[in-house]
Amino acid sequence: MRQNFPWYPIFLREMLLFRRKLLRLGYLFSAMVVPIIYLIAFGLGLGRSVQIRGIDYMTFLIPGLVAMSSMNNSYTWVASALNLNRLYFKTFQVFVQAPISPSSIMIGEVLAGMVKGLFASALIIIVGFLTPSGFSITPLFFMTLLLNCFLFANLGVITGMLAKSHEDTATYSNFFIMPMAFFSGTFFPVDKIPNFIKPVIYLMPLTHTNIVIRKSVLDIEGLISFAVLIIYSIAFFVYGSKLIKKYSE
């Protein structure tokens, strides 16, 4: 077991904790509240009268909400859990003192974050199928969703390692995650944004997720965006592993 999957105990631990959380129903509802509010406010409220690129707004919005929600959940869970485990509960120290590599710690935490991101996404996908829209799931959609969860779980590890207090993680989130949720094509296409801001927009990984996740087939634009997501993922993984390796009290 250990030789093949040294990350497994770290993943298992998060899953045991997650299961306990799920059993408390309050969590499930709170995970669903935000996306459903967006869906009602933007989709049913604003979106009734709007068409984007010839498709109705709900069909445009739902993949964006899935991308946003998978980002939020993968990222936030990992960042805050890792930060709390490191600074308050000190359980992170148990991993550091175990004979496993920094990248194994990284993989265990990231996979757990992905499961939580996918779980939140599944809730929205279910709601998406229940609302009248042309929303459907393609293999490309699913691949992009997985990659997005992976990318932001890795970013979560970086924040969790760097943040000097739990309040700090909220600051990171306000500066990086919040703007991405709104300006990277979740609620409206990025080509509506003034040209001078566009370079920043295209630096945001979620912009590229939103580009690929709405495509039915992978064209050149989609391929470039997919490549950008992979490059970000690798960079975040390498940097996160390095932070764990350098960890010293």
Partner: protein, 283 residues
Amino acid sequence: MIRVIGLTKNYGSIRAVDSISFEIKKGEVFGLLGPNGAGKTTTIKMLTTLSKPDSGKCIIDGFDVVKNPYEIKKRIGVVPQENNLDRELTARENLLIYGMLHGVRDMEKKMAEPLKIVDLWDRRDSVVLSFSGGMQRRLLLARALLTEPFVLFLDEPSIGLDPQIRRQMWDIVRKTRIDGRTVVLTTHYIEEAEALCDSVGILSRGRLIALDSPENLKAIVGEYVVEFINGDGKLIQNVCKTRDDAHEIAKQRGDGVTIRRSNLEDVFIKLTGERIETGEPVE
């Protein structure tokens, strides 16, 4: 078994550990005694790969802690000062995750012995949140024993425990000394160091100021203490080398004088002019 040479650690401009050196033999129970802030925990963190030293070396079982952390991690068990159990998981789950992290096979079987040693076998399926402070510290000890480590590190094993429960903890620590296991502990309780340790290093402000068996340390300062309250209501303590010296002082003083055996606190006061448990200066 353990060799520490010139170990130093700075936090900003504060030198937490100042070039300490010592050796611990296989099978020995070694104690680092000193007040809070003396550098005990920092030393343990460096020995257990959690903190990288600024300079100096530590070698455990032939491996350098900085160069071969992986080999060190396979050989040690740590009970940290701060409880780092997963409080929302059961005792069994806590041990399971820890054992898997350390590559222990046959977990269900292996778990029984340490849980029985610390007397928590019957509570193995309870969530840690429902445990008292003493039970949680015992579970930490069971977790550290799970991997059958060569060296067991205990950072303040009985901190925050009632005196009576502290004694139970000592009995358990004594039970863990099997198969020539080396135990390194830190404490600011004088009694704990005297009850458990074969040799004691006294730390003060990051420096190792004395190192010997408790008996020898006490013999150096004097084995008897004459205590009395002086005219200003202050407690005066005179440490004497021999019983006769002590009686001589007691005779001169007259009533209200007690003679007792010296302890490690007297050693610490003699060396630093301060008390261990409170860090207060003594006149």
